[in-house]
């Protein structure tokens, strides 16, 4: 039990190492989720509305990629960014930027697939009404994204939660360098194997609280939106 007590003490005393790790984790995952949203929302909306040969295959692949194994994404980005890889000259491997790239690839299918589902369902309902009002393609996308805003926020939170909780990609492309690319999850893995349980448990607690907060936020958004917009 002494480990639990020390874990709480680390959190309560505002331990500098612990909080710099939390900060890095959050900024990497937030940046990754933001990039995934910027690419994933238009991509999902496009797939929902456009009809072209091969669309079904892309949708199936996208849905499948929601469960992409993080280590495989990590490995792929590692190969791209490693010195002999095609993007090796950028010198990004083992930097926070590499972690952002890898995590945004991990989160992108989640955002894009959930957006496609939301927008397509909404389009089925809205199609005739919008056509009758003479709404053009750009207006249709804008209307559907806006009217699907609450489901889309939930998708964003799901993506962010996935990024914050995964360990495989950031371990491989970040390298778990002390004070530079060490995140909550990679620290927990390392410190546990070293037997330094208080820091591992302290970070574990912070991580669980964060995930709970994200889910509570998603739940709150849903309740609030049901009251506000029906």
């Amino acid at each position: 039990m002494s480990e639990t007590v020390s874990a709480w003490q680390l959190i309560a005393s505002g331990d500098a190492t612990l909080f710099s790790i939390v900060r890095l984790s959050l900024s990497v995952s937030l940046a990754a989720a933001t990039i995934a949203v910027i690419v994933g929302l238009p991509l999902g909306a496009f797939l929902a509305l456009a009809r072209f040969p091969g669309r079904s295959a892309i949708v199936v692949v996208l849905n499948g990629f929601m469960g992409l194994p993080p280590v495989v994404v990590g490995l792929t980005v590692y190969l791209l960014l490693s010195r002999s890889g095609p993007l090796g000259e950028l010198g990004l491997l083992f930097t926070p930027a590499a972690m952002v790239i890898a995590q945004s690839l991990l989160v992108l299918p989640i955002i894009a697939a959930l957006t496609r589902q939301t927008i397509e369902d909404l389009w089925l309902e809205y199609r005739e009404e919008l056509t009758a009002m003479g709404v053009g393609p750009a207006g249709q996308v804008a209307t559907l994204l806006w009217d699907g805003r609450f489901s889309l926020v939930t998708a964003l939170l799901a993506g962010f939660g996935r990024a914050a909780a995964e360990v495989g990609t950031v371990m491989i492309v970040g390298g778990n360098i002390d004070g530079f690319t060490r995140t909550m999850t990679t620290t927990i893995a390392l410190e546990t194997s070293k037997g330094n349980l208080p820091l591992a448990m302290g970070l574990g607690l912070v991580l669980i609280v964060l995930i709970l907060l994200i889910n509570a936020a998603a739940w709150g958004v849903r309740l609030w939106s049901e009251r506000r917009a029906g």
């Binding site: 309902e125 809205y126 005739e128 009404e129 056509t131 009758a132 009002m133 003479g134 709404v135 207006g139 209307t143 009217d147 009251r227 506000r228 917009a229 029906g230």
Partner: protein, 240 residues
Amino acid sequence: MRAAPSDLPLVLDGVSIAVGGTTILDRLNLTIMPGAPTLIVGPNGSGKTSLLRLCMGLAAPSKGTVSWGGRTHLPQTRRAIVFQKPVMLRRSAAANVAYGLAQAGCPRALRARRTEELLDRVGLLALASRPARRLSGGEQQRLALARALAREPEILLLDEPTASLDPAATRFVEEIILAAAQSGTKIVMASHDLGQVRRLAGDVLFLVRGHVCERADAADFLDRPATPEAAAFVQGELVI
């Protein structure tokens, strides 16, 4: 907007709609002129909704042509339709009307005032900020009417707008429709309520299985139906 060319008369010339071998409308010839409301009556599946969608330009005929004021390709800015189950956007009542105004090309500066006028016209001003999907069925129909009227339509197509409403709500909706008709909008409305035909119709189009079975002034149709099918329908017998 009044300078735009007229959509009337609306002419259907030898129009058929067939979907997968099933004929929904069969060689319809029909001219709709300005004037009192035209009510399309007939049993379920007789083609009322398909006819309204044709009139709106939402469906293309399999055969024949539809023309508005002599033109077959016309932007639908001067027509509006209210579906049987109108879709409320996930926004406030006022935002739904403002959306309709924006799509009809109403300048941004005028939208707030026009929204208020339209909501007032359908008796929903007090509920302006209420989420549209939280409104009752009758209120949603009135909101859909306000959104359609935002287009200042020359032709207003209505698909059984009172089908699932109680008498009080029906009366409210009918008053809005009559007011629109009196201000010069041509109403074309599907209904299978004979009381409603008596209250609203100038003339009646009686559809059975995709054919125009009878077209007559409302009073003639109700009191002196010319065909056995119409007579049976007016008598309240089941016409299938």
